[in-house]
Amino acid sequence: MGLFSCSTGAWGFRMGNMPRPKLLLLVVLCVLGAEAVDRSNFKTCDQSSFCKRHRNLQPGMSPYRALMDTVQMTPEGLSMKVLNTMNKVELQLHLAAVNVNTARLTIDEINPIRERFRPTDALSKEPTIAEASILAQDDNSVTLGFLQNKAVVTSDPFRIDFLVDDELAISVNSRGLMKFEQYRKRKNNDEPAEGQENEENQEGEKQEGEGEEEKPVEEEDEPGMWEETFKSHHDSKPYGPSSIGLDFSFPGVEHVYGIPEHADSFALKTTTSGEPYRLYNLDVFEYELHNPMALYGSIPVMIAHNAQRTVGLFWMNAAETWIDISSNTAGKTVFGKMLDYVKGGSEMPQTDTHWISESGVIDVFFMLGPRPAEVFSQYTDLTGKPAMPPLFAIAYHQSRWNYNDEEDVKNVDAGFDDNDIPYDVLWLDIEHTDGKRYMTWDKHKFPHPVDMQDKVAAKGRKMVVIVDPHIKRDDNYHIHKDAKDHGYYVKSKDGGDFEGWCWPGSSSYLDFINPTVRSWWASRFELGTFEGSTKNLFIWNDMNEPSVFNGPEVTMHKDAVHYGGWEHRDVHNIFGMYLPKSTYLGLMQRSNNKERPFVLSRAFFSGYQRYGAVWTGDNTAEWGHLQISIPMLLSLSVAGQSFVGADVGGFFKNPDSELLLRWYQAAAYQPFFRAHAHLDTRRREPWLFDKETMNGIREAIRARYALLPYWYTLFYQAATQGMPVMRPLWVEFPQDTSTFATEDEYMIGNALLAHPVTDAGATGVQVHLPGEGEVWYDVDTHKKYNGGATEYVPVTLTKIPVFQRGGTIVPRKERIRRASSLTNRDPYTFTIALDKQGRATGEIFVDDGHSFKYRDNNRFLHKNYLFENNKLISRTLDMNGEFETKSWVERIVIIGLPKAPTTITIDGIRDIMIDKKNLEFRYTPDTQTLVIRKPAVNVAQNWSITLQ
């Protein structure tokens, strides 16, 4: 939910009921900017002086040299110094193997005059140093070996090359764009920094062919180094320039992905002719599609993939970051002996990237794969596996800014039941509060919040309320009082509490960098402290970029000061994550660490996946926004953030019934499934539309509910292995080059391929079904398709093109209840789609759906199902798990079975005692589908079913 805003300095209130006389004033101010994003509110690289300085560097003129006589091998890895031959500043380099197939490179100042910020809270724990050894060393290089990987550090020109199985995978500084602005004293404070023109990269030019004995060449100050003004906002930059930049090349790679969040294509574009991709958490009003502007969250992770290999890069830096991407051929940056490691010769394609951050240290993790699943595992070994959401959180959520009062809540809740549409969570946006004082209730509209929640919960449902990080400056508001009295707010550069405008008017911002603030915040969620809350109430954290309506780029001033003396510029991109992190801790503590929290956040950073879900912010009810939801969610998914969704229907404006229906159909097959809408939009609960639309929406939501056991199992795989739930096709088909730029379809787990209809008036879609020699089945009709081909699939308004891959088994609960929690005892249907060998496998994870008992007490089932040689066997996959359930096996559907069996028998396996018996079945030759009636065994059991 977003900013009602138009120009810098203008700010908006969310208005309550009409009429809105006060609005008129704003209206006049905002008329011009009301249409879409006002780009002039946000910086270009040219307007961000450090970005401009780095971007103007010319390749091939690096002043840096690794000093071979400083090489040391320590238990912490390889260390050496790197000299800037221009200004003679020495830097400390560390290169270590960590965890598995992962390397960490850090470059920092030696004895700096100011310490640099490291956003280590992105990491779930300090990475384990892995075994590595120096394999070779000569005058100009040293080679570090770890597992099947090598890292070759070359002294002059300084570069590092990572080899996987002796093939060149990543080159560092191969274009010589490294630039490390050490902290320095300002030369002459009397002279204004402005106006000291200086030739870009002068240092590099002068340095050519010169020896080390040259005197240090002092860098000239450039405009913007010591202070900078954007629009009306001044950045005092008391510590001067501090930026860092480094280039990374991926030989043999044409496709790179990740670095969310941008409203752009999934396969990242080259930025040569435009702006670089920008990572700077911002509240962008009515964001535009297909451009590299920064949005609400930042994950500085890039995945590079080709048919041979997948690798990843994690640039652990929380400052404003810009990333340039360009295409190249490998020969131009590979030299000497490295050339031997490049397969395919010098004409091989290559992707070059250039990373630029305003402050912090160079701290980069290289995830060397080499398979996609391994890269995801390596990244989440560093930053943590995604939280295992409670079951309700992956069901359907109904939200709106705003459900007006208790009566409205009651009616919407009843509306779902009256129309037999399941839903799990009802959301309340900011209007539920007493004057935008979070964790309070509007006494007139919500006089009985506990009773209201109890009534919703009586049907197994939950509620979510919004809690934002800007705190109304009102001494009668206990949160503000406490925060002010204890000094819990971020400070302005002048030392007082930072103040900015947000929904409540004048607000201050809690300084979550301070661990004391985080634990204090967490304690606010105790049921006795958060008045009107119940255990069925969960939390939505919004506006945590942070959004400051009257701040530069609608966020906080970079010279604002945080706990520990850090400038806001140092912490900006990780700052937003601390709010949901603290909220998550609060919800944990609320239940004595027994219940799994649910938190939704708009801002995020690497590691946020440990806490909750994100959504793509304030989108618009347009087909383009529905289309972009897929690449945006895929970009997040490959960057470790599995639990992602986009507002169904579009936040701004009114969707027509077709768009709304198509959006429901798409989102029913995306991880986080929530409908949400702006205050000014028409009501859009499904039953307010025509019957066909409503029925279509109902069917889409019911399809989601039926598949919840499958989704839940995928979330468990994410939580344990880091595998994204929603996957680009190439994750499952890494060698199918035709899928590398695909962004109109995707895999859900390894079994289902979804190709949502995202065009108005569509009567069919072109579906690419990957994999030579594979087979696919339409989940509705069981129609069979061969893999490795693109098929035209006709669609009606109610058709959602979803295909099950031959060789997989998908669990469903086909009894659709009012809410997911009511299905605990319900039976399963397993759909077995056979591959060409008549084989299929799948798994299921079952627990109580809400607690940590699966983790702390091994209260879970993790089962494997294997069908081969006409026999289906249920086995326990994880012997540690034990869970009692009433759920049984209702039905088994086998698709792709060429002929009907004569008899089917079920039997126990090994020591499991069940009575052997024959099962009834029905075979449909047209679709080669066999339905086995009622095996009626408990899902916890191990058994076998034999077809004869």
Partner: protein
């Protein structure tokens, strides 16, 4: 089948046996018992979840055929917790089939049909508790208890409805009476209009007859006065011309010459500071000199507006001062001083009505201060009498005309009222012209039926129109249950405000609530006896299909 059920950790076995026994043997025992009639209990056995209406389809002695004919199955597969029929009819008592309905008879209360997906989900949906039999939750039979409460409520409701109905009868009668009255009045007015129209025409003829001689006499009088005025003016000009002549005739030779003209800068046409001979000649009349006679007849009339004598020169600058002869600048004789504000409206109306009167301007000089000699002498007695007669005729005409207008206005009003749809039986008629208010935390809402809806902030601020009467907007079968008010104040970047007024039966006219479910689309709830269109039994009962 229950014997072959697998046992897992001992629990499932028991549970499943229980479940199956329930499903196979648990035929409903229904008591046709109404708490209000002491009839004997009768048991009707049928599979769980089946309504009495559908009972004939479930014959346990025969295989069961799905109601859609999609399959025939052994009867023991009915309610066996597995869906065999496409239409779900084999599982009325379990949650096995999608889109199937479960029937609970709720004895003591009203029967209910719920989606069968609500069977055994741990929530008691039927007051008799029959939807939950798996042991997950124990549902008490609350039907009698609820029935009693419900009946009490319905009784109260019935009282309201019936009282409202009585009131509505009055409203209907009143409405009809009002309509009849209005129709009668309309007819009477139409007749009366004819009468007064005739009177008006007569008065008009009388007025015209009286005005003709009046006009003649007045014109004559004025003409005579105009002649007098013209003669006086001529004399004045002669005096002025003579004076000017002697001023101009500097050398006193009885002739005004060019060079004497050249001394007067007002004849400097091109304003170059010098009066040339040509310029002087132009004004003198194309001659080089004139004597007094010629000056008075030919030169003076041409230059009199231009000429500046000694007198004029004394008050500089002359151009800024409006001259008496300037018709544009002279105060209009027809503009009376502004009347006091209160009278304004009234006056406008009068002016409006008198618009087409061709009354002569007899009181033209009323407010103009005049010297005696400029004032027109009084009319002679004869003329005065004529004017007086015409005045009276005019007054009579004005009065007749006003009567016609008044009647027209009344007819328009009545026709509008008679054209408004006050409900099927004119039951809403009495609401016309009334307004109802509701105060909420922030706003005061107002409903003026058949006129408009509005909202004003309680703590100051102007009223916002939320819509003007448009039409009835209830569903086809209940058109008079909702009103639509549209074209209210426009919302920025949005639609015009509009309001739907939903009516419910009540014993008073009362605005119950106001809300804005969509931006700028309001919903009012209004209670009125006019909605109480049906009488209900004062002692309501539950109707069961079994009965």
């Amino acid at each position: 089948m229950a014997e072959t059920m697998p046992c897992v950790r001992g629990i499932l076995c028991n549970f499943r046996s229980f479940l199956y026994r329930e499903m196979f043997l648990g035929l409903l025992v229904l008591h046709i018992v109404s708490p209000f009639y002491n009839t004997a209990a009768v048991e009707i056995l049928r599979p769980r979840g089946v309504s009495l209406l559908h009972k004939p389809f479930y014959d346990e002695s025969k295989p069961f055929t799905c109601l859609d004919g999609s399959a025939t199955i052994p009867f023991d597969q009915v309610n066996d917790d597995y869906c065999d029929c496409k239409d779900g009819t084999d599982e009325p008592g379990t949650a096995a089939c999608p889109n199937m309905m479960y029937y609970c008879s709720n004895k003591g209360f009203t029967p209910k049909t719920i989606p069968s997906s609500r069977v055994n989900d741990g929530i008691c949906d039927c007051c008799d508790g029959t939807d939950e039999y798996s042991g997950l939750i124990l549902c008490q039979d609350k039907c009698r208890e609820m029935g009693a409460v419900e009946l009490e409520q319905r009784k109260k409701q019935a009282e309201v409805i019936n009282k409202g109905f009585q009131m509505r009868q009055t409203l209907v009668a009143d409405g009809k009476q009002t309509r009849q009255d209005r129709e009668a009045k309309l007819n009477a007015l139409k007749e009366e209009k004819q009468v007064v129209e005739t009177k008006k025409q007569k008065a008009q003829a009388a007025k015209e007859a009286a005005e003709a001689p009046e006009k003649e006499a007045v014109d004559k009088h004025k003409q005579a006065w105009d002649e007098v005025k013209a003669a006086r003016e001529l004399e004045r000009q002669k005096e002025a011309g003579t004076a000017a002549f002697s001023e101009l005739d500097l050398d006193g030779d009885g002739l005004v010459k060019l060079e004497e003209f050249q001394t007067h800068l007002e004849f400097d046409d091109d304003v170059d500071g010098e009066v040339t001979e040509d310029e002087a000649k132009t004004h003198l009349g194309d001659v080089t000199e004139v004597d007094l006679d010629r000056f008075l007849t030919e030169t003076w009339p041409e230059i009199k507006d231009l000429y500046q004598g000694e007198k004029d020169k004394a008050k500089e600058p002359p151009a800024a001062e409006p001259t008496k002869g300037d018709p544009d600048l002279a105060p209009s004789e027809e503009t009376p001083p502004p009347p006091p504000a209160e009278e304004e409206e009234e006056r406008e109306e009068e002016e409006e009505e008198e618009h087409d009167d061709d009354e002569p301007d007899i009181d033209v000089d009323k407010d103009e201060p005049k010297t005696d000699e400029d004032e027109m002498p009084d009319y002679d007695e004869e003329t005065k009498q004529l004017i007086s007669a015409a005045d009276q005729a005019r007054a009579e005409y004005t009065e007749a005309n006003k009567k016609v207008s008044d009647i027209d206005a009344q007819i328009r009003q009545l026709e509008k009222q008679l054209g408004t749809d006050f409900g099927a039986e004119a039951e809403y008629s009495s609401l016309d012209g009334q307004c109802f208010e509701l105060e909420t935390k922030e706003y005061k809402y107002k409903l003026c039926p058949f006129d408009k809806c509005s909202q004003s902030p309680k703590h100051g601020g102007s009223e916002t129109t939320l819509g003007r009467w448009e039409s009835w907007a209830g569903p086809e079968d209940n058109k008079y249950s909702a009103m639509k008010y549209t074209k209210g104040q426009n919302c920025w970047n949005g639609p015009d405000r509009s309001t739907e007024v939903r009516m419910t039966c009540g014993i008073e006219n009362k605005l119950l609530s106001a809300s804005e479910p969509n931006r700028c689309e309001y919903v009012f709830e209004f209670e009125t006896p006019a909605m109480c269109s049906k009488e209900v039994p004062n002692n309501p009962e539950f109707s069961h299909e079994e009965l």
